[in-house]
């Protein structure tokens, strides 16, 4: 069997939904993640920094918006956007 035919045969056998090899890609991504998890976890600080800067820092100079403090106003907006 030529290499091309072998390739075709393999692809035909593995092209169905059930014989998917997605788990290999998943495993690969998991291995990459082992090196970068700190980057993703430290992303937790980003909204906190924003909330402190704009909500509490700048918020003092804004006062109230629609009857609530500016910090509550943007915190509400942030969490709604996330959902």
């Amino acid at each position: 069997m030529s290499a091309i035919a072998l390739e075709r045969a393999t692809r035909a056998r593995t092209s169905g939904w059930r014989s998917t090899r997605a788990h290999l890609l998943f495993e690969r991504n998991l291995m990459v993640y082992r090196r970068t998890w700190l980057t993703i976890v430290s992303g937790f600080f980003e909204p906190i920094f924003y909330l402190f800067s704009l909500g509490i820092g700048l918020g003092h100079f804004v006062g109230t918006v629609h009857g609530v403090s500016y910090a509550s106003y943007i915190a509400l907006r942030c969490s709604r956007r996330r959902r």
């Binding site: 090196r35 970068t36 700190l38 980057t39 430290s42 992303g43 600080f45 980003e46 920094f49 924003y50 402190f52 800067s53 704009l54 820092g57 700048l58 003092h60 100079f61 804004v62 006062g63 109230t64 918006v65 500016y70």
Partner: protein, 253 residues
């Protein structure tokens, strides 16, 4: 020095192929910022307790300084690591009569040129929004270049020292972003609690923001302005000294 210009030429030459995109972002960027913060949020600030001057006038120089800081930091981060580790451009340059110091100076000259173009565009947009209130505002142009270099010089030292690119995430997340948010760009640092306030005063960004804000508002006085300039120059000199050392250690020995 002529060798440093050769190194500058390399960066300028490769920038000639991608300049269009960056010009568009540097025009659209300030327009969006000034509309959203200066005009939109500014309406709420001016209606509330306020910052003493119209919020648009307050935030405009802050955004200019912060943009100079971000542009300079970025240009001295990944591109430096790329030239050392990925494309190995610096190694190629060192195979010519150029020395590690020429690579450093040439690259910083290129960052300065980028800063000059971007901040000139910003100033024109700021003028269009009516945020400049003094002829002295023209001095905010060289000031923006100085603010940028005060960041790019130490960051280039960091990039040449760094072994893995993941370190840049820490730099951007825990140094650049807090500085962007808390150095008097969006609200006066007097609002910060003690401790944090002193840290903000020590950042080169706050010194740049304060210098440029007084220039654009027309409230600048000689000695405080000179003190800011001297402090920023100190960061440039310190950063370059450190970078010259890390470049040599990383590339030559």
């Amino acid at each position: 020095m002529t060798y440093a210009l050769r190194s500058f030429e390399y960066w300028a030459y490769s920038y000639r192929r991608v300049w269009r995109g960056s010009v568009v972002t540097s025009i659209v960027g300030p327009i969006l910022y000034l509309t959203a913060l200066g005009v939109g949020l500014g309406k709420l600030v001016n209606r509330g307790p306020g910052v003493g001057v119209p919020y648009l006038d307050f935030v405009a120089p802050g955004i200019l300084a912060a943009t100079a800081m971000q542009l300079a930091t970025f240009e001295s981060s990944y591109p430096v690591m790329a030239a050392i580790r990925w494309t190995r451009q610096f190694h190629a340059m060192l195979a010519t009569p150029l020395r590690s110091r020429d690579l450093l100076i040439g690259h910083q000259l290129y960052v300065a040129a980028r800063l000059a173009v971007v901040s000139a565009i910003y100033l024109v947009v700021l003028a269009g929004f009516g945020a400049l209130h003094s002829p002295w505002a023209i001095l905010a142009w060289p000031a923006a270049v100085l603010v940028g270099l005060a960041h790019s010089a130490p960051v280039s030292a960091f990039s040449a020292w760094l072994q893995r690119e993941e370190g840049f995430n820490g730099l951007f997340r825990f140094v650049v972003m807090p500085m962007f948010l808390f150095s008097g760009t969006f609200f006066p640092v007097t609002r910060l609690p003690h401790g944090a306030r002193e840290i903000a005063y020590a950042t080169p960004l706050w010194n740049g923001v304060d210098l440029m804000r007084h220039l654009t508002l027309g409230t600048a006085s000689l000695w405080p302005s000179l003190a800011h300039v001297a402090y920023l120059l100190l960061w440039v000199a310190g950063g370059l000294t450190l970078a010259a050392r890390t470049y040599r250690r990383r590339l030559v020995t």
